[in-house]
Amino acid sequence: MKKHYRLLVVALLALFIAGSAKAQEVVVNGKVQDASDGTALPGVNILEKGTTNGALTNSDGDFTIKVQKSSTLVISFVGYTPQEIAVGEQTSVKISLTPDITQLSEVVVIGYGTVEKKDATGAVYAVSSKDFNKGIIASPQDLLVGKLAGVQVTSNSGAPGGASTIRIRGGSSLNASNDPLIVIDGFPVDNSKNGTDPNPGQAGVVNILSSINPNDIETFTVLKDASATAIYGSRASNGVIIITTKKGKDGKPKFTYNATVSIASPIKYYDVLSASEYKKLVTDLNEKGFSGIDATAVSHLGNSNTNWQKEIYRNAISTDHNIGVSGSYKTIPYRLSYGYTNQQGILKTTDFDRQSLNLNLNPSLLDNHLKIDISAKGSINKTNFGNTDAVGAALSFDPTQPVHASNEYGGYYTWLSTDGTPNKIATSNPVALLNQTDNRSTANRLIGNVKVEYKLPFLPDLKLNVNTGYDVTKSSGLNTSPENAAFKYNTLGSGRRNDYNAKNHSELLDLYFNYTKTIGGSKIDLTGGYSWQHFTRQNYNYDRNLNGSVISDSSRYKNENYLVSFFGRLNYTFKDKYLLTASVRDDGSSKFPNNQWGLFPSVALAWKIKSENFLMNNDLISDLKLRVSYGQTGQQDIQSNYPGLATYQIGKINAQYQFGNQFYQTLRPNAYDGNIKWETTTTLNLGLDFGFKNDKITGSLEIYQRDTKDLLNYIPISLGSNFSNFLNTNVGSMQNKGVELTLRATPISTGTLTWNAGANFTYNENKITKLTLTNDPGYTGVNASFISGGVGNYVGNYNIGFPSSAFFVYKQVYDTNGKPIEGLYVDKTGKGGDISSSDLNRYHFKKSAPNVMIGVNSRVNYKNFDFSFSGRFSLGNYNYNNNLSSRAYYGAIYNQSGFLSNVPSAINDTKFANAQYNSSYYVQNGSFFKMDNISAGYSLDKFFTSKLKARISLTAQNAFIVTKYKGIDPEVSGGVDNNIYPRPRTFLLGLNLTF
């Protein structure tokens, strides 16, 4: 199959095999310097005109080149006007290059290549290190928070080293992954979290990016529209983030050293009743004869006064050190860096410790014809996960009980059952949960890749590229609790020992060529190639009590998948004004056995209006470019690796069945869809790039519509047709529409004072346009957003015409004072009876995704001082306040098995007797402004010696939040606010040294 691709390969090979010829030569020595200040220019390109013979200047600006007699040298360097010099009889030349302001252009990385920002036809945005967020940033994605329109980065919790959720333009899938593709130095990394449910921490890595040291990152490039992303085809529907790490520069070794020390503390505590308030409430309820709160309940009250939240949180100290050296060894530019991060979590016993080593070597050989980029990133990540159950337990544990008690359970106060053993359904002592849990893992990761670019000697316009890489993560961990841990009580032997390990690896091979040619006013840039990637994941978990007599889990899994792709892209520029990009990717995925191949094309046009005569001399408008793109991308990232194969699952040890006296493993046919295929997203994007007043103000406006069809959906199927009631299959469509505006301005720029400011604005609207095979009006959709409290309760739902993040609740009825009336809901169907017995009475009410996000940032440099801040608005996002709904009712106070639970003070707002999980009351406005960081710094050109430059900075991270939301933090990934490890506020002192 796919024979036409073979032709392409053969053509490539023919070019490879051909040789090169050489003629008579003379040696020329020279030096290149900057015409403005006379400094030597390293890395300047010297080329014998009409040939591919070339050389580079060294760190002192010197070069040597063998050329033919009476030839001409072309000297070129980015940012300078090129010069030509006739060699004649000279053997030594001195060249001064003039900086070319108009030539200074931003080059952005795109898939399988680079493009000058001014020539980009797609929605491509880059954030470079100088614009990154400041603060204690253990995880690279946090650098991006609030920086780009259309890119939402939400850290899932305040846990050290924890993961974030990234959504570009709202996400295009329902059940398949909504994570963007992340490409690190040309290596697309596996998005899947190697975790076994139900505990995501099991495999030891909670965050695919936490093993990358943020200090090593040079730029993030975000590809948003189909024109930019379609070259990544099947994995590009949710956008692409390309991470480029810092590379070595020619010259003498340059050292950098950064260090920060920080202190983090909880922003606030959840408002629950104090011991005296609680005591009063319980006795009052008993006196009033509240159902279930009898004399026995009152007798359980203690005499202590414990603030359980204060008992589990702390001020956390963290340090971060990075040392890097870059330069060139002979002709090999290098950069080597070492980073050490030790981050304490504000929840006691949690921390994250990472050592990272990053090496980049970028030699050029064969007179610059062979460029090699070697990149290796290694890290050792040690995480102490602690026991985050303590977060919720601290809100619920009876404040009248002491932390410690004299007993056989490690001296921690414990709720007991009637027969004197720990009450298994009672809240566990939060302090015991922390102190009697040792839950730590080590994950070692290595990403290495080698990129070789070979410029053909006889056809320098053609470059051949090979990129091979390997990404491996090995992790192992141990979660133990001692024999006397009440929360791990078992009559056959208490305590816990859980060993686990996991290994994920992926191998990559890319082969592609790039051909550029300028003929008259036409410029062609053609890229084509082949990509192969293989992913393997394996995991082992063994969980039992301390003496090994009770095995709760003994399992392992192993799976793999392959992606094979052919791709091509044409950039055509006419008269440097009219630009065309067309790309196509033919992707093969092993996940779809009968529909392996998916074709994803895109086309884009751009018009550099500024270059037209009528604008050329306009002083107000310094840049204007109109872009339009249309294309398709695919999605195949669903959890199952064999959704289209008829497979049988062998049951595990605990799922056997007894015949006679013998137990038999079970053999189950799994549900599958033999015709499962690609999910396809079609994106139309309109973009306008503009600059005013000599680019003092620049910006971009994007308008897009994305339609996803054949959604890879896990939905109910007709019973009897397959081996389950739900199936991974292609049903449904979804639409995202939005507007994005990015603005950058330099209002002041004098010698001593510079002020840069930026803002980005995002509006996205999402709705499901098709969900099932039929359109039955009685069909209530697919439930989502499962909550804590009761079993299986949910407050979300996918249905046609509504956003995928819509809440799905009964509409609360309020009294004249605005208080919710317990159990009274709007009768939507008008059928009367028990309103809350039918989902048909539920409303799609608000949604967790924001309507509008605005990011703002500013940086002022005055002499040696700098001051910057970065903040974010998120408007129209709602949260389901699960912390309240599962706790704030009187019925939650006493459980008849004999234990008390504290309630939030907000119980006074509702005075509910029973749980009202499905009330719209708990869907609360989570709009906010967050000041993500404020930083002030002072730079010293001379620090002790003239060779040492320094910057000292002071930063407040997560400085303040403005919100009406009643929970601790309005920013909740997924919208269900429940027992989240709180994000702390952090103050940092930083020192940067360069020498």
Binding site: G19, F663, P669, S721, N725, T774, Y779, S837, N895
Partner: protein, 521 residues
């Protein structure tokens, strides 16, 4: 030109690599626990393991135990196990049981206010049809196989399919229906079958496999002829509800076969509900559970933990964890004259700290507790595969006592082939065991249908029969018979008769456009 040689070599590697790479897309599972359909039945043991799944599907949630790799979705795995979903559908809407929890719409059961979107009802519906679909596949795989063991497996698969479809027939009436002749795992819309047609089909299936099944009690846990006769008898006894025609004579025919077989009453009533109840000679068809090897949050694990609460002591039941859920209403407890169990030992009722009156279903101490199921052996020793969390006790789906009472009822309903005096003997055999002597025996004058429905409650409460029984007696809906909180009113109120059938779940109506909703919903 060293470089050129290098180029040639790399070119060769590349072109070989490309071909290989495209073929890489054809994968087969590398997980040792996952196999392709073609390789699945590679040994005689594999056939038995395939059969074991069909049985396990009645109590385990999936392939991991107690949860994980679940068979069906859209429901909590514990609530979604077959045995628990079935029990809830059969017991919670009746006079026998209330549940305290706030889990979704679970309280709607007792109030009889459920809707077509109810997840618990959806779970039961999905379980029944899923299990039948599993059986279809196994029946296809084993069809035509003449190996003596596999012939038996094949018949058992047909029995289990009939059992699952019987539950569908009883609970939902008109269900989408497939057999081994339908396609396997493709997109199609199974057609709904009329309740009466499904009755005929099940009758013919059970009659067809009767002789292929093993003799009664040939191997514990397996469906044998006794199970087949019992299911036939249940079909016939309820035939009026399912088809409009009485079939009490046919019921008596098969009840006679059971009673005349190798079964006998356990010496003690409670021995049917302990961890060693696999030893009970009364057991006709169990759903087996095991603390180590057959773990789920359904079956007796659910019944034992959920019944525990208040002042009960867990150690008396061989588990740790009082889930504080299930109690009974005064309608059941008042059927016993002495709740202590000293008179009628079947009164396994907990009153300490509990009130008989239910003011709030959500309060565990409202309503008397039930102490019928235990994870200790009959002598009080721990179960052989004891676990604090998972019960060893098997769930008695069919037992001899039930057959005795069915016999009496069929005779009272006018079936021939039995006698009233025989019926009285069978009923008194149960009562003698319960009372320990003849003091509780009844006279022939006492033996009426009204007595039978109450006696069935006393003998079989919490065993998953009550809804079917009440419907057969016309007492489930309507206002003839009220119990606390029926119709969501404390003293009970009349409910509409369409609730004798559960609705076809809206999920399936959305996925299968050929389905028609049951009347009233």
């Amino acid at each position: 030109m060293k470089l050129n040689k290098l180029n040639i070599v790399s070119a060769l590697i590349v072109s070989l690599g490309l071909t290989a790479c495209v073929n890489d897309l054809n994968v087969t599972p590398i997980d040792p626990n996952l196999t392709t359909k073609d390789a699945a039945y590679n040994s005689p043991l594999a056939y038995k393991e395939g059969l074991a799944k069909l049985y396990a599907a009645f109590t385990v949630s999936g392939q991991q135990g107690p949860s994980g790799q679940n068979d069906i979705s859209g429901i909590d795995e514990g609530f979604g196990t077959y045995s628990r979903a079935y029990w809830n559908c059969q017991e919670l809407p009746t006079d026998e049981a209330v549940i305290a929890w706030n889990d979704q719409t679970v309280k709607n059961f007792h109030w009889q206010t459920w809707s077509a979107s109810d997840v618990f009802i959806t779970a039961m519906y999905s379980r029944a049809i899923y299990t039948a679909t599993l059986c279809n596949e196994y029946i296809r795989v084993t069809a035509g196989n003449t190996d003596a063991d596999i012939v038996k497996y094949h018949a058992e698969a047909r029995f289990l399919r009939a059992l699952a479809y019987y539950h569908g027939l009883d609970l939902f009436g008109n269900i989408p229906f497939t057999t081994e002749k339908d396609p396997s795992a493709t997109k199609f819309f199974p057609k709904q079958i009329d309740r009466a047609d499904l009755f005929t089909y099940l009758e013919s299936e059970l009659l067809a496999i009767e002789n292929d099944l093993g003799a009664p009690q040939f191997e514990y846990g397996r469906a044998d002829q006794g199970a087949c006769w019992m299911l036939l008898a249940k079909l016939y006894l309820n035939a009026k509800v399912y088809t409009g025609t009485e079939k009490n004579t046919e019921a008596i025919t098969y009840l006679n076969k059971i009673i005349g077989s190798t079964y006998s009453l356990a010496t003690s009533y409670k021995n049917n509900f302990t961890a060693d109840n696999d030893k009970s000679p009364e057991m006709i068809f169990p759903i087996t559970c095991d603390g180590t090897y057959t773990r789920s949050y359904g079956g007796t694990t659910y019944l034992i933990h959920a019944c525990l609460g208040g002042s009960m002591s867990e150690s008396n039941f061989g588990v740790v964890g009082k889930w504080g859920g299930l109690r009974t209403t005064s309608a059941l407890s008042s059927k016993f004259t002495d709740l202590s169990g000293n008179t009628d030992s079947r009164a396994m009722i907990w009153t300490d700290g509990q009130s008989e009156v239910i003011n709030d279903i959500g309060t565990f101490t409202d309503g008397y507790g039930i102490t019928k199921f235990s994870n200790l052996n009959s002598d009080g020793s721990p179960a052989i595969h004891h676990s604090d969390d998972f019960a060893d006790t098997d769930f008695p789906m069919f037992r001899l006592a039930d057959a005795y009472l069915m016999y009496a009822e069929a005779v009272l309903r006018g079936g021939s082939g039995g006698s009233l005096s025989q019926a009285l003997d069978y009923v008194n055999a149960l009562r003698e065991r319960a009372y320990g002597d003849t003091s509780g025996n009844i006279t022939s004058g006492d033996l009426t249908l009204d007595f039978i429905i109450d006696e069935r409650a006393r003998e079989l409460y919490f065993e998953g029969h009550r809804r079917t029984d009440l419907i057969r007696f016309g007492k489930f809906t309507g206002g003839d018979y009220l119990w606390p909180w029926k119709g969501n009113v404390k003293v009970g109120t009349s409910t509409p008769s369409y609730r004798d059938l559960y609705p076809i779940p809206s999920n399936d109506l959305g996925a299968n456009p050929t389905l028609k909703q049951n009347e009233g919903y």
